[in-house]
C-alpha cells in the first residue's frame, strides 16, 4: 500500500516538475524581441521604444537592463549556455571577443540593403571598430572618448589663453599650475584607469601589438615615449598617485582648483553642470587632446548595437537597429543620456552645436584610433595599467616597465599565437 501510494506521489511530482520546466523553458512569445542593455542606457531606450512599436505593430521589444559590472560575465555565460538575447548593446572593446565566439550575426547585407544606416556618415575609426576579419558585426550606437576638462580661469591666471596644443606646452602648463606643497596638482590621472595612458599611446605611430597582434609592442620607441610622459607627470608631482576609488569626489575637487586638468569622458559634462555651483560654470571648458607634436589622437570608445547569430528574429532586430540609428532618434537619445551620437549628421542638432563643451568632443572624434581587435585586448590594457602603476610608484623604470608589459602580453597572447601557427 505504502509502495503504491508512494509511486503515485512520485509520478505526480515528476509531472509537476516537467510541467514547470516546460513553462519556464518553453519558446517565448513569437514576436518578442529581447534586447539587453548595460548601464543607464536601458532606461533611456525604454522611452524611445513606444514610437518604434507604433510604426512596427508586429514587434514587441523587451528591454532587459543589466548592470555594467556584470555585463561581460553575463554575456559569456549566455553564449556558453546558448541563452543569448536577440540583440544587445556591446562595448566596442568586447566585440572581437564575441566575434571569436561566433556569437554575432554579420550585418553587411543589411547595411547594403538599407538607406537608413549610411556608413560614410559615421566617424571612420568608430565604424572600423565594428569590423573583424572584413565582416561587419555591429552598428555604432554611441561614442565615447577621453579628453581634457580644464579650468580656464586658472590657466588664464597662469598666463595661458588657450588649452595646450602639444605635449611640451601641456608640460609647461602642468608645471605652472602644480603646487604639491599645497596639495594642488596640474591634473588628475587615476592610476587604476588605463584609458589615459592608452590615449597617449594611441597618439604614437607604432601599433600596440605586433606580429599579427600576437605579441606586445610596448618596447617600441613610441610607446616608451608615451609611458615616459605619463610617468613623468607623477614624478614631477604634477598629478597625485591616487586611484579613482580614493578620489571620492573629483568634481568638487576640480571646482575647488585642486586639479586644473581632468582627463575624462563625455559623461562628466553633465556631471560638472549638475555638481558645480552656477558661479563656477563659466570657469571650466573642454579641449581635445594635445599630441606629441600638435593635436593628438584619442581613444575610439563607445558601444554598438549587435544582433546575435542564434536569434530567430534577425529581421525584427535589424529593424530596431535601423530605428535607433536614425539621426533624429540619436539626438533624442543624446538628450536623454548625454551619450554622444556616432553619426556626423546627428551632430547637426542645435542641442549639440550650441553647446561649447561638446565642440572639443566633435573635433576629437575625427581623430580617434581603435585599439587592437583581439579578444585578449582588455586584459592586456588592464595589465598595462598595473605595470604602469608600478612605474609610477617608482618600482620600475620606464624601460623596465615596457619590457615587463611585453613579457606579460606575450604570456597572455600565447594561446592566440599557437592557434595562428596551427592555422597556417
Amino acid at each position: 500500500m505504502g509502495m503504491a501510494s508512494g509511486r503515485g506521489a512520485w509520478l505526480r511530482w515528476v509531472s509537476i516538475t516537467v510541467a514547470l520546466c516546460l513553462a519556464g523553458c518553453g519558446p517565448r512569445h513569437g514576436d518578442t524581441l529581447v534586447f539587453w542593455t548595460f548601464g543607464p542606457e536601458g532606461e533611456a531606450v525604454a522611452s524611445l521604444l513606444p514610437d518604434f512599436e507604433r510604426t512596427h505593430p508586429g514587434i514587441h521589444v523587451e528591454v532587459q537592463q543589466l548592470p555594467l559590472s556584470a555585463a561581460h560575465q553575463k554575456l559569456l555565460t549566455a553564449i556558453a549556455g546558448g541563452t543569448t538575447p536577440d540583440m544587445a548593446q556591446l562595448g566596442n572593446t568586447w566585440l572581437p571577443e564575441l566575434v571569436e565566439l561566433h556569437a554575432l550575426a554579420p550585418l553587411r547585407q543589411h547595411v547594403d540593403a538599407t538607406q537608413t544606416v549610411v556608413a560614410p556618415d559615421y566617424f571612420t575609426s568608430i565604424w572600423a571598430t565594428n569590423i573583424s576579419g572584413g565582416q561587419l558585426y555591429g552598428i555604432p550606437w554611441y561614442v565615447d572618448t577621453r579628453l581634457l576638462f580644464y579650468r580656464s580661469d586658472l590657466l588664464k591666471q597662469a598666463g595661458f589663453d588657450a588649452p595646450p596644443r602639444d605635449w611640451s606646452e601641456w608640460r609647461r602648463m602642468l608645471a605652472a599650475l602644480s603646487h604639491p606643497e599645497r596639495k594642488v596638482y596640474g591634473i588628475l590621472l587615476p592610476t587604476n584607469e588605463y584609458e589615459q595612458l592608452l590615449s597617449l599611446a594611441l597618439q604614437q605611430p607604432a601599433p600596440l601589438l605586433r606580429d599579427d597582434d600576437s605579441r606586445g609592442n610596448f618596447e617600441s620607441a613610441g610607446f616608451r615615449r608615451a609611458l615616459a610622459f605619463y610617468v613623468d607627470t607623477f614624478r614631477l608631482q604634477q598629478a597625485p598617485a591616487v586611484t579613482n576609488v580614493e578620489v571620492g569626489n573629483p568634481w568638487d575637487e576640480f571646482g575647488r582648483g585642486v586639479y586644473a586638468f581632468y582627463f575624462s569622458g563625455p559623461w562628466n559634462v553633465a556631471e560638472f553642470r549638475k555638481r558645480l555651483p552656477a558661479s563656477e560654470q563659466g570657469d571650466w571648458a573642454t579641449a581635445s587632446l594635445p599630441g606629441p607634436d600638435g593635436p593628438g589622437a584619442g581613444l575610439a570608445g563607445g558601444a554598438s548595437l549587435v544582433v546575435f547569430r542564434a536569434s530567430k528574429h534577425q529581421r525584427e532586430a535589424w529593424a530596431l537597429v535601423e530605428y535607433l540609428s536614425q539621426p533624429k532618434v540619436q539626438q533624442r537619445f543624446y538628450q536623454l543620456t548625454g551619450d554622444m551620437p556616432p553619426r556626423r549628421s546627428s551632430w547637426n542638432s542645435p542641442l549639440l552645436q550650441n553647446d561649447a563643451a561638446m565642440h572639443a568632443f566633435r573635433d576629437q572624434l575625427e581623430r580617434v584610433k581603435p585599439t587592437p581587435a583581439v579578444p585578449e585586448w582588455e586584459r592586456i590594457a588592464v595589465m598595462m595599467q598595473q605595470v604602469a602603476a608600478r612605474a609610477v610608484a617608482g618600482e620600475l623604470t620606464v624601460d623596465q616597465a615596457a619590457a615587463e608589459m611585453d613579457r606579460q602580453a606575450d604570456i597572455i597572447l600565447a594561446k592566440r599565437r599557437s592557434l595562428l601557427e596551427a592555422r597556417q
Binding site: 560575465q73 559569456l76 553564449i79 598617485a241 576609488v245 580614493e246 608600478r390 610608484a393 594561446k415 592557434l419
Partner: protein
C-alpha cells in the same frame, strides 16, 4: 544485509544530491584544471588542449600568484587572531554580570555581520579617506600625519583587515557567548573561595572550558578568511598595486573576468590544498595540546 540496504536507500537521496551538486562539479573542475580551457575553447572545443599539470606549473612560476598567496597569508595571520581576540573580548564583556542593556549591545555588535559588505564598504571608504576621513582626522588631533589608508600599498591590507575584523567578529562573539554561558558557575564560586584573581579565573577556568568552542571557531574563521574576496572587491578592487589581491580575487579575475577557467580551477585546487593543510595542522596541534 537487508537492514544495510534499507539504510542505503534512506541515504540515497542525500548522496545523490551530494554527488550531483558537489562531487561531480569538483571532479569536472579537477579535470578542467588539467586543460587550457579559455575563450578560444568556448568558441570551439577543438581549441581545447590537455596540458596535464601545466596550469599548476605556470602558477608556481607566476609572481602574481605568490604575491596573492602572500597577501592571503598576511590577511589570515593578522586577521584571525585579531578577530578571535575581538570576539572573545566582546563576549566576555557581554557575559559580565556588570553589563547593562545586554540585548541591545548583542544586537549592535552583531549588526555588522548581517549588513551587506557593499553598504558598509562605502561608509568605510569615507571613514578612511585620506583627506576627509575621520580616521585621519582623529590621528590629526594627536598630531599624527595623515595615513593614505587605501592608497598606500603598505596600509591597504591593514585597513582591509580592520574592516574584515569589524565586519565578522560579531558572529564568533555569539558562539563564544553561548560557550561562556555553558561554563558552570560553581567553578568560579570555588575559585573565588580559593582566592583566585580574575585573570587566573580566566586563564584556568574560562579558557580551558572554552577550548573546544575556540578551536571550532578558529578553524571556521581560518577557512573563512582564506577565502578573502568581498572585502578587497568592494574596498580596493585588489589594488593599490595589487596589494590586496587575494588568491580568491586572482581566481575570480582569471576565471570570470578573463574566462581562463583552466588556470582559475588550478588556483582553486591549490587554495584548497593550502587550506586543508593549515586546518589539518591546527587540529593536530590542538590534539597534542590536549594530550
Amino acid at each position: 544485509m537487508k537492514a544495510s540496504r534499507v539504510a542505503w536507500l534512506f541515504l540515497a537521496p542525500a548522496l545523490l544530491v551530494l554527488a550531483v551538486f558537489f562531487l561531480l562539479p569538483v571532479l569536472v573542475a579537477l579535470a578542467l584544471s588539467f586543460t587550457d580551457y579559455d575563450l578560444y575553447a568556448l568558441a570551439d572545443l577543438h581549441n581545447l588542449r590537455f596540458v596535464a599539470l601545466g596550469n599548476y606549473w605556470v602558477l608556481l612560476h607566476r609572481p602574481q600568484f605568490w604575491a596573492a598567496l602572500g597577501h592571503t597569508f598576511y590577511f589570515v595571520g593578522m586577521g584571525v587572531p585579531l578577530s578571535l581576540a575581538a570576539s572573545l573580548g566582546a563576549a566576555l564583556l557581554l557575559h559580565s554580570p556588570l553589563a547593562r542593556c545586554k540585548a541591545f549591545f548583542r544586537t549592535a555588535l552583531f549588526a555588522p555581520v548581517v549588513t551587506t559588505a557593499v553598504a558598509t564598504a562605502v561608509v568605510w571608504r569615507y571613514l578612511f579617506n585620506t583627506k576627509y576621513g575621520w580616521a585621519n582626522h582623529l590621528l590629526g588631533m594627536f598630531g599624527i600625519h595623515p595615513v593614505d589608508w587605501l592608497g598606500d600599498p603598505h596600509w591597504a591590507m591593514p585597513t582591509i583587515i580592520l574592516f574584515a575584523v569589524w565586519k565578522n567578529f560579531g558572529y564568533n562573539m555569539i558562539i563564544l557567548l553561548a560557550g561562556l554561558q555553558a561554563v558552570p558557575a560553581e567553578l568560579y564560586e570555588a575559585a573565588c573561595i580559593d582566592g583566585a584573581s580574575a585573570w587566573r579565573q580566566f586563564r584556568h577556568i574560562t579558557l580551558p572550558m572554552l577550548g573546544p568552542t575556540l578551536l571550532m571557531v578558529a578553524i571556521l574563521t581560518v577557512s573563512g578568511y582564506f577565502q578573502l574576496f568581498a572585502e578587497p572587491y568592494v574596498m580596493t578592487e585588489g589594488g593599490p598595486l595589487e596589494s590586496t589581491t587575494s588568491v580568491l580575487y586572482l581566481m575570480y579575475e582569471d576565471g570570470f573576468q578573463w574566462w581562463n577557467l583552466g588556470v582559475a580551477t588550478a588556483e582553486a585546487f591549490v587554495l584548497f590544498l593550502v587550506m586543508f593543510a593549515v586546518t589539518a595542522a591546527m587540529l593536530r596541534l590542538s590534539r597534542k595540546a590536549v594530550a
